[in-house]
């Protein structure tokens, strides 16, 4: 019984380590191919990726962020009372910029683009399109992986900025229009909390999350076998593994911020 449990646990751990190594090696391979950005077709794929991952998700992310801003401010006022406007603004800023902005944007991108990238690449693998690229002397890593990694990272970064701005705006509207709180105190709270370190931290997180999501999706898409169930399985795995890695990375960032703030 114990033997079976530990056997399965060992398999699970080894499987995750293998997956991490494969994803990391894919990112490294793509970095070594950075010079390929000088080629027109690679840039075209990059722009297309930014359009699909970034631009097409903007609406969803902004509506979600506005709602989150309203919810955070409303819950904070219910908890703290409407006399402590500065603290309400601080809570909003703290939660959105440091945590929810990068994380929720990453979740939207995993659901929309992570699955789509994995399904697209898996389909290309199954139908021999990737082999045909090789037969044309085109490196699949340079043409398919690199622009998706860069496009994913830049898109999550830009979407996080939109998310943060929309959430703060939603919070402000809820406080100012809904709860009739003084706007000067609200802004005072925001300015008091918003530091360069926080903004840079949030930006680094979002870039890394974007890179992770795209790398996991590419890795899952490229390793498929030639079977009819391979494509949907790759899409599902891209979502699950993407979520897993993003949450692990988020935890690592929280620890890192704690260590840095102590130092």
């Amino acid at each position: 019984m114990y033997q079976m449990f530990f056997g399965q646990l060992g398999h699970w751990i080894l499987d995750k380590i293998r997956f991490l190594l494969l994803t990391f090696s894919l990112i490294l391979q793509a970095i070594f191919q950075l010079f390929a950005l000088g080629r027109t077709p690679v840039r075209q794929v990059l722009l297309r990726q930014i359009y699909f991952t970034g631009l097409e998700s903007t609406g969803v992310v902004m509506v979600m962020a506005l709602t989150i801003g309203v919810v955070i401010v409303t819950q904070s006022i219910l908890l703290l009372g409407n006399s402590n406007v500065t603290l309400v603004a601080k809570v909003l800023c703290w939660i959105v910029i440091r945590e929810l902005g990068p994380l929720l944007t990453a979740l939207v991108v995993i659901a929309r683009s992570g699955a789509a990238i994995a399904a697209e690449l898996a389909n290309m693998q199954v139908t021999g399109q990737i082999d045909s690229l090789r037969a044309l002397g085109i490196s699949p890593c340079a043409y398919l992986v690199l622009p998706r990694l860069l496009g994913g990272a830049l898109s999550v970064f830009a979407l996080t900025i939109y998310f943060d701005a929309s959430a703060l705006l939603g919070g402000f509207f809820a406080a100012f229009l809904g709860w009739k709180l003084p706007s000067d105190l609200f802004f005072q709270g925001l300015y008091g909390t918003l530091t360069v370190g926080q903004i840079v931290g949030g930006a680094c997180k979002s870039l890394l999350f974007g890179l992770i999501i795209a790398a996991v999706a590419c890795q899952r898409g490229l390793i498929v076998e030639r079977s009819s169930t391979a494509v949907p399985r790759a899409a599902t795995q891209a979502v699950i593994y993407g979520l897993f890695l993003v949450f692990v990375a988020d935890g690592c960032f929280a620890l890192l911020f704690q260590i840095l703030s102590r130092g």
Partner: protein, 227 residues
């Protein structure tokens, strides 16, 4: 001063098989296809044609023996060193491998644009000329999904021709085509073979009857196990 005669032109092997074995059964095959020749390899099954192409491109290894193209074993070269050799090879396979999210023209110019072979406008002009030459009559900017199998094969053929290869390989070329389309395509393929001097053309097929449709000078190699 006496003129020394020029050295005799050596017959360079475009493709060399040395005891090549694709399946566990059967003997390995020794074969040599020289520049400018027309050759056909008859294989046991359709999948073996794809496997043969993969071995040729260095994407997989044979069970035994070696296969070299332009005196190079692609599996032993780095990705960077493979490119000049691969650029001399054009492949038209049964699984056409056209990039589904690109339109016809984007598919055709992809490799030439990627390798920055020429001016972009010139590359597009060349693609249009080649489309006309293979008898393609639909829109050059149309989506691939709207094309018939015969038209997709024409597009794939033009894509292979875009880099003006010295070696053209057709793997189970007529799969899914009507006999009329297949005959028209074969005529075009033979015309393309004759068009460039010393261009080598190799057919891979599991169909023994196909050999009868090829010109008499075609070299025939059999990789089929007996029985």
């Amino acid at each position: 001063m006496a003129l020394t005669p020029p050295p005799p032109e050596t017959e360079s092997a475009v493709l060399s098989l040395n005891k090549l074995l694709l399946e566990t059964e059967g003997p390995g095959l020794d074969a040599k296809v020289l520049a400018g020749q027309l050759a056909v390899f008859v294989l046991n099954r359709e999948e073996l044609c794809g496997e043969f192409v993969n071995i040729l491109l260095g994407l997989s290894l044979p069970l035994n023996g070696t296969l070299s193209v332009f005196d190079q074993h692609l599996s032993q070269l780095s990705e960077k060193d493979q490119i000049p050799v691969i650029q001399r090879i054009g492949i038209v396979a049964a699984r056409l491998g056209l990039i589904a999210n690109l339109n016809v023209m984007e598919n055709l110019v992809l490799a030439a644009d990627y390798h920055a072979m020429d001016d972009r406008a010139e590359i597009r002009q060349r693609a249009l000329r080649l489309l006309e030459r293979v008898g393609y009559e639909d829109s050059p900017y149309g989506a691939l999904g709207k094309l018939s199998r015969a038209q997709q094969t024409q597009v794939c053929l033009v894509r292979a021709l875009m880099l003006d290869p010295d070696l053209l390989i057709y793997a189970t070329l007529f799969d899914g085509l009507s006999s009329r389309d297949a005959d028209t395509l074969l005529d075009k393929v033979l015309e393309i073979h004759r068009y460039k001097q010393r261009r080598t053309t190799i057919f891979l097929t599991p169909d023994q009857k196909f050999v009868a449709r090829l010109p008499a000078e075609t070299q025939v190699f059999c990789l089929q196990s007996e029985g």
